[in-house]
Symmetry: C2
Subunit: 562 residues, 2 copies
């Protein structure tokens, strides 16, 4: 079936759950009124459904290829990229001074969900440009900004991130790529980078690499890393791509999914680069970008969940197998276990969307108001959005395949592609284990203030509710609160040992809270989904919290491989 952008669901979350009208009440986002945002979502839906989605399977079947040192993509995919660029969708959150639309992250989050659902492998290209735009806006000097931002925002050029090296994955501090000052304000960059998404292609006229590298006098570890902008073609004074830089694509990876996205091994051979930000402060600049990117990857996971759920709902309401106990439902959607799967998928997807949009709204409110509490909320929600969004992206795709049965395992139905594509999202941009460690480590370093504030919000929702649903939410939130206090009192490695179940428990409690807000006082399908979540999913919080409090001793004592 054709992808249908979930605009009405997004609006419901924005206006009924998160009260995003608050955005237009700030000076910074005064133009982002409800009407404006609603209209933008409709426009985005049109291009994502009509232009981008039809290229999803093409991108899977005809991966980009490396020919004579240049990466070539199918013309249909390149055309979809041009449509995104020309529609202004790459720069919707970028600074209007350089051609962006200055819209809030909240809108970006919705648009990027649709773009990712429509064709994730293609979406990665504009998504990486967006990350680079944000990094340059915050850290580059005016000359670099003036030269690069308009081109990146218009999509004439695209951006990449170059962090990983064979020995430096999760341990970014192990980066060895070197940057030698050339004496003219530029640097000669040398080294190999791997997993460079859209590291080369023919969909735009220049590729701009942000590269982590070490100056000659750099300290070991993350404190000796600087950030450089290294274009494929060096812009001339008029800003036209000129001389080819000393860099090349060594090879493309053969991946399980995201075939349409060329993943490059890049070799820098004394390539000319320009420093972005301060010497040895590259990680700080990178973190600006990575925080937004983490939310963005959570949205990628969410997008695959929603698209796979749409397919499963349609299939289950069409396929007939056996008699069902529900009068008038003759398809497999009448079987209790199929309904259980579909409701689980619905509840998880709705939870992830609310978490991601709450995180995005917090980013905007922090930027617009300067209020530290919004910043702390953003910081706390970011690892949850990334890890939960991508975990449920995998789980929902997995259940969609189960709903399809044997047909799901056949590539032509397209479910297998969701399953293959989404699987890297819990890995890249910081594995979900690292996200969870960030949550129980850095994000609790405020003494628990931000976590407690969010827990109190959830608790208030539980208190407002009557009957067993309210009890289920309150009980789960109490368990989460107790576990949070346990974490705050525990040694760091004991926290790490329970980090993944703790993050999951936090997300499920948030789900109970948001879904209850979403259902309001109504009794339609939203109430039914909320009731399902409160009854069926919240019991897991207790198990997860028990696991979260187990500590590291048992893990460390294990004689692995003995």
């Amino acid at each position: 079936m054709a992808y249908r952008a979930p605009v009405s669901e997004m609006r419901h979350v924005l206006w009924e759950v998160l009260h995003a009208e608050r955005l237009a009440e700030t000076g910074r986002f005064q133009d982002a009124t409800r009407d404006v945002i609603d209209a933008i979502l409709d426009e985005a839906a049109k291009v994502m459904e009509g232009v981008v989605a039809p290229t999803r399977r093409i991108a899977d079947l005809r991966p980009a290829v490396l020919e004579n040192g240049v990466v070539r993509t199918p013309p249909e995919v390149a055309a979809a990229f041009r449509a995104l660029a020309e529609g202004g969708w790459i720069g919707i959150a970028a600074d209007p001074d350089h051609g962006g639309m200055g819209l809030p992250s909240t809108v970006l989050c919705c648009v990027n969900e649709m773009m990712s659902a429509a064709n994730l492998s293609l979406a990665l290209c504009p998504l990486l440009s967006q990350g680079q735009i944000e990094a340059l806006e915050h850290h580059a000097d005016e000359r670099l900004q003036a030269l690069y931002l308009p081109k990146l925002i218009s999509g004439e050029w695209t951006g990449t991130m170059n962090l990983t090296e064979p020995q430096a994955g999760s341990d970014v501090g192990a980066v060895r790529t070197r940057a030698e000052p050339k004496g003219d304000g530029t640097y000669a960059i040398s080294g190999q980078k791997i997993y460079i998404t859209w590291g080369d292609h023919d969909v735009a006229e220049n590729v701009c690499h942000l590269v982590l590298a070490r100056l000659p006098d750099a300290a070991p570890g993350t404190k000796g890393i600087s950030l450089f902008l290294v274009p494929k073609f060096i812009p001339d004074d008029g800003g036209a791509p000129g001389e080819a830089n000393a860099l090349r694509v060594v090879s493309l990876e053969h991946k399980m999914g995201l075939h349409g996205s060329p993943t490059c091994v890049m070799e820098y051979e004394g390539a000319r680069g320009w420093m972005v930000g301060e010497p040895h402060r590259g990680m700080a600049a990178m973190f600006t970008m990575m925080n937004a990117a983490r939310l963005g990857v959570g949205v990628q996971g969410l997008s695959q969940a929603d698209a796979a759920l749409q397919e499963a709902l349609a299939y289950a309401q069409d396929r007939r197998q056996g008699r069902t106990p529900i009068q008038g439902v003759e398809t497999i959607a009448g079987h209790a276990d199929v309904r259980r799967m579909l409701l689980t998928m619905t509840a998880l997807t709705a939870t992830a969307r609310a978490i991601c949009l709450d995180c995005a709204l917090s980013i905007d409110m922090a930027a617009a108001t300067g209020d530290g509490a919004w910043g702390a909320r953003t910081a706390l929600l970011t690892p949850i959005a990334k890890a939960f969004g991508t975990d449920i992206g995998c789980e929902v795709s997995e259940m969609a395949m189960q709903v399809f049965g044997g047909m799901g395992f056949i590539e032509e139905t397209g479910i297998a592609q969701f399953y293959r594509d989404v699987r890297v999202t819990p890995i890249y941009e910081g594995t979900n284990g690292i996200q969870a460690m960030d949550l129980v480590g850095r994000k609790l370093m405020d003494g628990g203030t931000a976590a407690r504030a969010l827990i109190e919000e959830m608790r208030a929702t539980g208190v407002e509710m009557t009957g067993r649903f309210g009890g289920a939410l309150s009980g789960a939130v109490d368990e989460l609160a107790a576990t949070t206090e346990w974490m705050l009192a525990a040694e760091i490695n004991d926290r790490f040992a329970g980090a993944v179940p703790y993050l999951r428990a936090f997300a499920l409690c948030l789900g109970g809270h948001y879904l209850q807000q979403s259902a309001g006082t109504g009794d339609g399908p939203r109430r039914q989904v909320a009731a399902f979540h409160l009854t069926r999913m919240l019991p897991e919080v207790h198990a997860l919290c028990a696991q979260a409090r187990c500590g590291a001793e048992q893990l460390e004592a294990w004689e692995i491989g003995a």
Copy 2:
């Protein structure tokens, strides 16, 4: 890394946990002594490690192709099949009167785990022959047995199962393929069958199809289905493959995994077939085979879990990223969250192996003693073995990919292949939802006798244990027992609504029981794995049981798609 057959672990389960010495105390399996079984496992390990495992990736990269109506496989894969056939591994459990070795299912289960781990897509070919051998042993007349069994057992010919049609998947009763009596004792079979694994190939000289079809006077539904043996080449009187039968391969499916196994759409165009068993009793005959096949598919899931776990353990003990808190462990195996994943994978895999071997031992003891209690135990354990074995096959492969990080998403490391290959196992041979419905439906129709007997075994293990581990097991088993009583008192659709979490809870309790038995009084790694399971995994039982008891009302009330 190269696959290492887990022979020492299998032996430990057989002799220390399940006391499989009991086999040789029966008349039927008196030759299956500990020495004999140990020696057979060693021999099997040699051929699976040395001959079969090297073809796993070849089979993935060079799928079988359909050329001029004939399926062609890579010569390396065909050679590995010949080695399995010539080593006698196809017929190790078959009747010695027809050339088999008459070994117990318990041994078959171990050998098939190794064979499936070594190359699952290839293993499916002998596995299907084994299923056909069993069906013919039980239901075919002597002439058919004499003609076909020696050829199938020797691997000169292979067998397939033809159940599914486009409109008849989980609902086998919807089969439309027709069988017209020709008046000479044979039948003309006409219709289309899909998902026919190894439906054609060039690794053996004949392909024998077991086909479900309807006689002209058949009743609707499953009561009107008969079973027919339809060879590709009709054997002449001397048993040599002669005239080509009126059947053909229409096409091969493009699957997400198991590329090495040709999945055929078969067209029967008045093909000559011989009836197996009684008219209209085809489902009964098919069920004989399907019960064994369900355990077999559980073992397939287990095999992928074990092989993926081996890879993850090796990688985690080699890859260095960041400093770890454990003195002397400088690889990622020192990080708490990586250890959590590896221990989870270890505990789940060990649980699945014990369940599968207990099920196999029950099959053997039932056959050898005729004791109905063993039969009931087999019946109860079969859906658990199938669903849990395949679910954890997916989960462990998934976690293995997470341990590998970005490298796991790259096809060359081989982890992605496990992830892709194993995913169909929770679907075929009855989806895991159907297994769970079988457990809470048909398998509780004895009034709960078999379930209570197994629960009492687990309870006794808990009682024997001191301290909090014993309490954890007893608490989980009590919850399972209460949920079992709830199921017995509930309407069928309420049972179905909680079937999947109930099956999972049952399996996790069994895991606590087996792992405790496995650890015994020692305090080495087996004790550590058991302690991990009891502390970390058993809390889930309480959440699962709560979900199991939710009933169908909430699910049925959902206004899907509204």
